[in-house]
Amino acid sequence: MRELTFVDALREALREEMLRDPKVVLIGEEIGVFGGAYKVTRGLLEEFGPERVRDTPISEMAIVGASAGAALAGLKPVAELMYMDFVPIALDQIATQAAKMRFMSGGALKVPMVLRTQYSLGRVHGSQHSQFFPSWFFQIPGVKVVLPSTPYDAKGLLKSSIRDENPVIFVESGLLYRTKGQVPEEEYSIPLGVADVKRPGKDITVVAFSRLVLEALKAAEILEQQGISLEVVDPRTVQPLDMKTIIDSVKKTGRLVVAADDVKTGGLGAEVSAAVVEEAFDYLDAPIVRVACPPIPVPFSPTLEQAYMPNSDKIANTCVALLG
């Protein structure tokens, strides 16, 4: 099978959906002429024209507001926000407008939009350009949240997100853009809300999000040499969260480590842990442990940033400690 980079896989998903459905339009800063800050939309302006690939001024509120309005009017916009750090600027449009319309109108209105964004943790972009807070959206029912970890998943999930009738926040990791993976040429999509067991194992379940799926897989390789078998579960979607797959895995292994690039307190790991304790308490053979960032702003110093971020070593060490 051919290999694609994460960026190419995303671009292919956008292009295929634009070819499939003329209602799909792109909107964002520098996505047209410049081809996107990360080159995800490169060539699409040339192929689909300025009607469907819209460059905008620097106004996240306008980008998201216009997308929500366009979605209400029948288009299927895919907006791009350059950094997840800027999502809060448009939070009213997301949380109070887009997320609520369908519910408040009794289903008469739909907001089929995708908000693509990326987080740059690990790329030395400083405190204001490295934030990752997908768990905020746990408090905003009405939106879906997707965290792809491989080119294959990125393409399949983006296609499903575009076809979904609800607002979808699609968060990419900047560190994953250059990673490569197998992507079939034939048409496929991946349903939202279905986790993927990236590696089966028997001793510890590691639920990892986004970039950390790759780190967890590395940890699994390291620990395999020591006779420790990790099962790596990639939820792929945070909302809805496929707790069944996670619970089934925990019932099998009896131990859970949750790895996420967000701040530990109140983060993705907190939600997964609580749900597992509620549903599978009697299966736990060890405390649930979260591997995440400390509750301080992301440091700018590369050395400090590396110390701050989760990685395969931290996941592996946590797993070893769990087995005693």
Partner: protein, 379 residues
Amino acid sequence: MPRVDPVMQEGIIKKWLKKEGDPVVKGETIALAEGEKTTFDIQAPDSGVLLRIATPEGATSQVASTIAVIGESGEQIIGVGETPEVRKVPTSEVVPQITHEGWVRASPAARRLAEEHSLDFTKLIGTGPEGRITREDVERVLEKIPARQEVVAPGVRQPRIQSVKQLAGLRKSIAERLSYSARQAVQVVVSTEVVMDNVLRVRGATGKNLSLTAFIIKAVAEALREFPELNSSLINSEIRVYDDVNIAIAVHTQDGLVAPVIPDADKKNLDEISSLIESLDRLASEKKLGVSELTGSTFTISNLGPYGVDSFAPIINPPNTAILGVGRIVKKPLVVDDEMKIKSVSNLSLVFDHRVIDGAPAATFLSRIKRILEDWPTA
């Protein structure tokens, strides 16, 4: 399933004396059952028809769970086993429940698995971090597979294991009661040597084979009337001094130690006490001691004299305040009035809970027992 002794968790139905459809009368024995310590009768809590037997012969039932349903003829039974309506047999005295001191570190998975197999996980050795008992530790016991090979430093000698037995039933009950006692009570021992010549003379004169223990019981009961603070229990923050003098005697059986009770020992004469000891011994060896024989003690006597022991310090039988250990009677040269005399002597060791009483009154109590025995009227 009634609870017939304080530590009973479950009982086995040995025999049903009634079958489904039989009429039963309140108080009538309808089944024979066996607990961890004793066999006992189960009486009908009410009159009616035995509609359904929920626990068949040979099956085990948790305390307070439904073993049968008594109702009116033709009555519909819904949800047998859901509503525990079996009465609890009241015991004559409040006895402290044996609970674990502190918290046992075990994972939820280990607890669940142990519970599913009625295994007491608190006795397992945890191999997880910080000694946590893990699912694997429970599985190992369930499958009787040996523990992960411990790393043994070269040169360290390890004894070979001949057999492994789970701590269960009476053995477990003894272990729990005695370790509870050892942890709770502040146990102090005082000893004295007692000349038993008068006792032996009286015993010989009766021509009856009176138990020597009976004399000790009689003497202790009399002394307890004078020192009621030793006839007591410390329960929570209360010292309960008892009016009844109920003396338990430690009896060895094939299965382990039991302590049947001589109730109102202070009001019984030697013959009565002696024959009661005999019948309790018999019941113990036949495993037929019931709840009324095994509860309500206020003081305990353990006589290891027949085993050739000179003296020993027993562990207090909770919730008693004290226990008396009795050694064998042996002839010894004693200096009496500056002359060497041969006397039959026995060692008495009183172990008491220093939380309840102090050394001086305990010693005075022991001297009183000695005096009663030595001055036993021979006429």
